[in-house]
């Protein structure tokens, strides 16, 4: 009986030791979050940089977990015998940290400076910095829109409605997008915004002001489908409007200082 007890205790100890030895320790570099497609931020920057270091990832290191990153990660998982799910869990993180390097200061410095750069292993870092790339908002958008669209609409929203409530700023962005879809207006964001006499901010030069984060967030919501105007294609400030014609448009609702019309 005593022998059986010793055997059982030994068995339990063996199991505990084995589980402790094989337990996946969190990698030292990434945060503890599991990353997957759609993710964004510093962990994604590190993932892309590490994958590029070992030549699995060849696109821009931008902190956006899109399809390029997804396929690169799957290829990495396949090569190293990991479960192929395109997600960055602890096991994949650990293997990635083991087989790659991440020059964090270098990568973040280039991103902050707005430089175009790469992070391949075996090439001197200073040789991987290229010219400055055009500054954009670096946000994740629905596939049908570009960062250029977001930046341009944000300029218009900030110039036209920076004193308005958040809803009013989303509304101005939605009007621009509604116009792009409407047959009476041009078919691109740029042409809609710069259409002669369409927006006061273009006429008086306020379009050139640098938009704040709130204006960009408002545009992001509009690009994602929010339309507080309920399909308006015009708006005006009743206190300052000089055109009689605008009063003839069917009105929908008032948000802040603006009346929105169809």
């Amino acid at each position: 009986m005593k022998q059986i007890k010793y055997i059982l205790i030994s068995l339990v100890l063996c199991i505990v030791s084995y589980s402790l030895l094989t337990k996946v320790e969190p990698s030292q570099a990434f945060s503890t979050q599991v990353l997957e497609r759609g993710g964004y931020g510093d962990d994604v920057i590190e993932l892309q940089a590490r994958l590029q270091y070992i030549s699995f990832y060849t696109s821009e290191i931008d902190g956006k977990f899109g399809y390029s990153t997804y396929w690169a990660l799957r290829n990495f998982q396949e090569k190293y015998g990991l479960p192929i799910d395109g997600m960055l869990g602890e096991k994949t993180k650990k293997k990635l940290v083991e087989v790659s390097k991440f020059h964090k200061d270098f990568v973040h410095e280039q991103i902050n400076k707005g430089n175009s750069f790469t992070h391949y292993g075996g090439i001197a870092l200073e040789k991987q910095v290229k010219n400055k790339k055009p500054a954009t908002s670096n946000m994740q958008l629905p596939p049908e829109y570009t960062e250029k669209d977001l930046d341009l609409i944000a300029n218009a929203v900030y110039g036209e409605a920076r004193g308005e409530p958040y809803e009013g700023q989303v509304a101005v962005a939605a009007v621009i997008l509604n116009r792009v879809e409407h047959s009476d207006f041009p078919n691109t964001v740029g042409e809609v915004i710069f259409q002669p006499r369409a927006f006061t901010a273009v006429a008086d030069g306020q379009i050139w002001l640098t938009p704040n984060e709130r204006a960009k967030e408002a545009v992001l919501d509009a690009l994602n489908g929010w339309d507080p105007t309920e399909n308006a294609i015009y708006y005006f400030n009743p206190d300052t409007a000089t055109s009689d014609w605008i009063w003839s448009r069917p009105q929908i609702k008032k948000i802040g200082q603006h009346i929105f019309c169809s």
């Binding site: 500054a135 078919n187 929010w226 069917p250």
Partner: protein, 426 residues
């Protein structure tokens, strides 16, 4: 002496008035010029992106019918951009090179379509052309860096972009497609609209009162039950009547719109300050599913999600109960806070009226016949998307990729095998 002093003063005043008047006039002219150039540059930049996307699509397919639309788009857009470029004050050499380059691209597409140029030759030369177009597009994109000085574009345009000491040798780029002849093309319309909002005028549900809307708001958003509410009705000319609920509770400010007929939630949006913490993707998905259930959108599923600085934007679509196909036109968008998973926004405008979907035959597609060998088909599922006649068609939603061109979602009609839509994924 006194007279003389008066004369001097009068002259000085006239001079100052004249000076400011000229200065104001110059500012106005400068502004007008900046706007005009910006318009042309931005327009060209946007169209260059569209053109490179259309070129990408000509690299995906081998099937002649599937190639028709993208080749037509290349032809159309290249002539459109030529018109935009011709309006810019470019240095003559640069302008001519680019005009010729675009002309050859457009003409090449036309010749491929007519069978005069082998598709393989076109695809070979276009692999580099697409990246050239994106480079130029980035250079011409609207930009207000340099502290938002409005003359930034004009100044840099004149000083840097117009001269022929550009980093890229456009002549070399042009040579890559020089085999094609030149000809002029008429200007045509731009891209077709893909997003169609539903007509909410035809809701036939009974009208709900302001009090009922207040109750519904509190039921939907219990955390805001003691918020200050301000409810107004839409203007009498609004295409469909709705209630506009503005709310305010502590740091939370926002709105919710409900249809007057039936009291359906159209959209909801909340603004508040944010913490730096971030919930996990799994938690975000749980939250999203919880919200969809709570709002009784049980027949929807998450189809895409994107993280940004403060929130996740989640796209959802209805799942057809006959064949499990996704009905994108019956979509719902959610906005969930990254710091604690709070619902920041909900947009159900498109979901309220369910699409009428007819039955449709499903004939399998041979993807080897359709796609070039460089493209790998990764996933296939069923989805309903609009065709050119704005009818909902059942389609194979195919996820295909090429490591150098990118990942594409292609929608192929299950019955006719027509390419209904193709979308480059980020």
């Amino acid at each position: 002496m006194k007279k003389f002093a008066w004369i001097i003063t009068a002259v000085a005043v006239i001079f100052i008035v004249y000076h400011f008047s000229v200065q104001e006039k110059n500012t106005r002219l400068e502004n007008a010029l900046a706007v005009q150039y910006s318009n042309q540059l931005t327009s060209s930049s946007e169209k260059l992106v569209k053109l490179s996307e259309a070129i990408d699509q000509t690299l995906i397919f081998t099937d002649k019918t599937a190639l028709e639309q993208p080749l037509d788009d290349v032809w159309r857009l290249s002539s459109d951009i030529r018109a935009s470029i011709s309006a810019l004050p470019l240095e003559e050499g640069t302008s001519t090179q680019w005009m010729n380059y675009l002309n050859r691209i457009g003409n090449g597409a036309s010749q491929v379509r007519n069978g005069k140029v082998p598709l393989e030759d076109w695809q070979k030369s276009m692999t580099t052309a697409r990246s050239n177009l994106i480079t130029l597009s980035n250079e011409w994109a609207f930009n207000t860096k340099d502290q938002g000085k409005k003359d930034y574009l004009v100044r840099t345009f004149v000083n840097r972009k117009v001269n022929d000491k550009n980093d890229k040798s456009w002549k070399t780029l042009g040579d890559s497609v020089k085999a094609y002849t030149e000809s002029d093309f008429p200007m045509t319309a731009s891209e077709t609209d893909q997003q169609k909002k539903k007509d909410l005028e035809h809701i036939r549900d009974s009208e709900v009162s302001e009090n009922q809307i207040k109750e519904r708001f509190i039921k939907f958003f219990p955390a805001l039950k003691d918020a200050t509410l301000h409810i107004t009705e839409s203007s009498k000319d609004a295409p469909y009547p709705f209630y506009h609920v503005e709310f305010h509770k502590g740091i939370r400010i926002g709105y919710a719109d409900f249809t007057k007929r039936g009291g359906h939630l159209l959209s909801y949006l909340l603004e508040r300050p944010f913490e730096e913490t971030t919930i996990s993707v799994e938690r975000m998905k749980e939250k999203a599913k919880g919200y969809l259930k709570a709002f009784n959108y049980a027949d929807t599923t998450i189809v895409d999600y994107r993280e940004n600085n403060i929130a996740w934007h989640i796209a959802n679509a209805r799942v057809d109960n006959e064949n499990d196909a996704l009905v994108y036109a019956d979509g719902i968008q959610l906005k969930i806070a990254k710091d604690n998973g709070e619902l920041l926004g909900l947009n159900a405008m498109e979901y309220i009226q369910e699409e009428n979907i007819p039955t449709q035959a499903v004939v399998p597609v041979d993807y080897h016949e359709l796609f070039t060998s460089d493209f790998v088909v990764e996933e296939e599922k069923l989805a309903y998307v609009e065709n050119d006649q704005l009818q909902q068609r059942l389609a194979f939603e195919v996820l295909t990729r090429n490591d150098s061109i990118g990942t594409y979602k292609i929608y192929i009609d299950t019955e006719t095998h027509e390419i209904l839509q193709s979308e480059k994924l980020p």
